[in-house]
Amino acid sequence: MITAKNVTKRYVDFTLQVDFEIPKGRITGFIGKNGAGKSTTMKLILGLVSPDEGEMIVMGSSATNLSIKEKENIGVSLAESGFSPYLRIADITKILKKAYPNFAQEKFENACRSMGLPLNKPMKEFSTGMKAKLRVLVAMTHEAKLLILDEPTAGLDVEARNEVLDLIREYMKEDEKRTVLITSHISSDLESLCDDIYLIDNGKIILHEDTDVILGEYGILKVDQETFQKMDKSFLAKTVPTSFGYTCFTKEKRYYKDNYPGMVIENVKLDELILMLTEFKKGENEK
C-alpha cells in the first residue's frame, strides 16, 4: 500500500530518514515523542512535502504525483486541520459531496447524529472532542481505501478517545482490505488498535514490531545488583541502572520467566518502551 524507500527530508535543524513498507489490510501505528517526525512522515505520504532523497510510493504511484482519482481513495485527518468555524456540518456536507464522488451523505449524517454532532450548529460551538470526531468521520465516509490519521485522539478525554478508536475499528470491519495509518503520542490508544507499530525518534525509525510481539514477548525485568551480575544477559536489549539495581528490557521475556523463577518480569507498555529506547539513545550520544 505504501512503500518508503530511503526517504529523506532535511530541514534546518531536523532530518527525517525513513524506510518502511505498509501492506494492505493493516492498522499501522506511528508512535514517538513530539517532534520525532511522525507528522512529517504523514505529510510525505500525502505528497504535501516532497522528499529530498528517496521515493515515497503510495498505492503504486509516487506520493507527489498522485492523480485526483487516486487521491479520492485516501481519507485524511490532520491534527489542527478543519473547516471554517462559521460553517455547519450541513454546509460541509455540500463541499464533501463535490470533492468526493463516493461521499456517502446519508451514512455521514447518520454517523454525525449518533456521535452527537449537531448538523445545524456552526462548528465554532463544537468542543475539542466533537471537532476531532468530525475530522475522523469526514476522513472515513467516502469509501477511502487508505486512511491517514495524524493524532486523531490528541486532546481528547478517555471516553472521546475510545469513541474515535471504535470508529476506526468499524471502518476496518466494513472492508478488511482497507489500510489505516495512525499516529499518536498517546501510545495506550495504539496498543489496543494497531497491528504493528513503528517507533520513531529524532527522525529515524528505531523500532518496528507487531503489536502482538511487543505485548506477548517483550518484557521489563527488575533485578537487584547481585542477580544482575549472575544472570544471563544475552537477551537483554537495554539496561538502565535504578535505585534498586537494574531495569532491563528484553525481547524474550519467556526465556527469563522459564529460567529465573521469582524474577520480577512485567509486560511492556508502549509508553515504557518509548522511554526505555529513546533514553538509551540519549545515553549513547553522551558517551
Binding site: 489490510g25 493493516r26 492498522i27 471504535d166 475499528r169 468499524e170 476496518m172 470491519k173 478488511e176 489496543s192 488498535l193 494497531c194 497491528d195 504493528d196 507487531d210 503489536t211 502482538d212 505485548l215 506477548g216 514477548e217 521475556k253 520467566k257 522459564d258 523463577p261 518480569i265 509486560n267
Partner: protein, 125 residues
Amino acid sequence: MKIILNNSSMVPIYEQLMDQIKNEIIEGRLVSETALPSVRTLSGELKISALTVKKAYDRLEEEGFIVTVHGKGSFVAETDKNLALEACRKTVEDEFAKVILKAKNFGFSKEEIQDVVSIILEEDK
C-alpha cells in the same frame, strides 16, 4: 462465544484466545461448522491486534480445531471429541513436563514433586 482476555497475564494473548476457543469447542458450546467471527471483527471486539487473532486462528487450524476457507472465513471443524480431549491432555502434559524439569533443576526428588502436586490438589478442594 465469550472470551475474556487478561492483558496483564504473562500468557501471550493469542494463547489465551486459542485456549478459550478450544474450550468452547471441546465443551460443545461451539459446534462444528459454526462460523467464527472474522479476524477484523474479533480484533475490534476484543480490542487486540488483528495479527494476534490471525495467529490464534492459524494455530487452531494447525491443530485441527477450525478450518479456514479462503474468502469465506473460519469455521469450527468436524472434531472428534476424543481427539480434542487428547489435545488438552497433551497441553497439560507439556506444562507438567516443563514444571517437573524446573523442579529437577532445583534438585527436587520424585517424591518431593509428587508431594507438591498432592498439596496443591488438596488446597483446591
